[in-house]
């Protein structure tokens, strides 16, 4: 009985986690070459409704963006935000899983 209950609980937790998964995007950004400049990109992207997290990888010139469940980021909106920060969007891709995918050149 306890074993069945544990199994049921595990399945329930797993299904909720799958349903609640965020959308992740990887943005290639040209012109980004120092930490102080990264702040402007974070600020502009964080203004987009539904964005829950922005991680800038300066060395790779990419930005990982997480969106709340049910929210999506379009390439045009991402390009606008990067442009408002003073940089140039090089590439845009939707990533698989939590950590995002590779930069899609």
């Amino acid at each position: 009985m306890i074993k069945k209950l544990s199994l049921l609980l595990s399945a329930l937790i797993f299904s909720v986690a799958v349903l609640a998964v965020d959308n992740h995007y990887v943005l290639g950004v040209d012109g980004l070459a120092c930490p102080f400049c990264a702040y402007g990109i974070e600020k502009r992207l964080n203004k987009i409704e539904g964005v829950t997290d922005v991680q800038v990888d300066v060395g790779e010139s990419v930005v990982h963006v997480s969106m709340r469940e049910g929210k999506t980021l379009t390439e045009d909106r991402a390009s606008q935000a990067v442009d408002e920060a003073g940089f140039t969007l090089r590439s845009f891709s939707e990533a698989e899983g939590e950590t995002g995918g590779n930069d899609a050149q």
């Binding site: 040209d30 012109g31 070459a33 930490p35 990109i41 060395g59 010139s61 442009d83 003073g86």
Partner: protein, 305 residues
């Protein structure tokens, strides 16, 4: 001396600019501007403490000591156009000079002249891990500082006042090439100083250049995210100042040319920059007995928000 009146002569002889020399803008070099972007809606706040010592080789053995704080607030109107406001505060601006009455000390303190200026990114070329930008700058300095302070000897010499009493204008162009490893900047700037109450500081033309080289982290390999950088920097300032205008003529012992080199260090994170440099004269060609710089120390921080 152009006059037998010692104190009036001191006014005239001070000659060379006693401006704080607070460098105005946001990122990159410590002694001048940059063309790097300010994001739309982003603010930049900068404080820079300036300690400047100056002296001359003339018979009056003048020594000038300035301790000032330059406060700058910048705002990104668009990604290409940013505006900045700068106000200097002089903790002390002091002149020691030998007169027929002996060695005397004169000083003042208070807010100086406020500068407002804009910078527009005319050209940019972004590539992966680097950027090249060209941005004209243009602005005005308003006569907000006290230009009529006095002490027991009378009104202070005009160059010693916290403000010059006149509207000044400046314009120039700054260019930046930045990579993950290093950054090169250049600036050409002209400042035309206005005239007030019979006095005008000499107009100024300057060419500035800087090299910043990332010394930490040594390599970006295996460095995810946005690690803080430490840059070693070397800046160069070549400055030519015309003679000050006094009455209907010019002060023969003012203005001239100088070349300063400034080694320094800069810690740069996402939101903060902490920096320090020492500007040292490499070559000075003062007009007559104009005052020359001995050294200028600049330490400060910048904050993004």
């Amino acid at each position: 001396m152009r006059s037998n009146r010692p104190l009036a002569g001191v006014s005239v002889l001070i000659g060379a600019l006693l401006l704080t020399g607070v460098s105005w803008v946001q990122a990159a070099p410590n002694t001048f501007n940059t063309a790097l972007p300010v994001a739309e809606g982003q603010y930049l706040w900068r404080e820079q403490l300036v300690l400047r010592e100056r002296s001359d080789n003339g018979p009056m053995d003048r020594e000038v000591s300035v301790q000032a704080l330059g406060s700058v607030l910048g705002y990104g109107v668009t990604s290409r156009f940013a505006v900045f406001g700068m106000v200097p505060y002089f903790f002390n601006k002091e002149l020691d000079v030998t007169t027929p009455m002996g060695r005397i000390e004169r000083d003042t303190s208070g807010f100086g002249d406020v500068s407002l200026f804009g910078r527009y990114t005319l050209y940019k070329k972004d590539e992966t891990g680097n950027t090249f930008r060209v941005a004209p700058v243009f602005g005005l300095t308003a006569p907000t500082g006290d230009d009529s302070d006095s002490d027991r000897f009378g009104e202070l010499p005009r160059p010693l006042q916290a403000g010059d009493g006149a509207w000044d204008g400046f314009a120039g162009v700054v260019t930046t090439y930045q990579t993950l490893q290093y950054q090169v900047e250049g600036q050409l700037l002209y400042r035309e100083n206005g005239r007030h109450d019979g006095f005008a500081r000499g107009d100024e033309t300057r060419f500035d250049a800087s090299l910043q080289y990332r010394i930490w982290p040594r390599s970006m390999k295996g460095m995810p995210g946005t690690p803080a950088f430490v840059y070693a920097l070397l800046e160069s300032n070549v400055i030519h100042r015309e003679r000050d205008e006094t009455g209907s003529g010019t002060d023969a012992d003012s203005g001239g040319g100088q070349w300063l080199l400034a080694p320094g260090l800069q810690y740069v994170s996402r939101s903060w920059i902490v920096e320090g440099t020492v500007q040292l004269p490499v070559a000075e060609h003062p007009n007559g007995d104009a005052i020359e710089d001995d050294y200028i120390v600049r330490v400060g921080f910048r904050r993004n928000f």
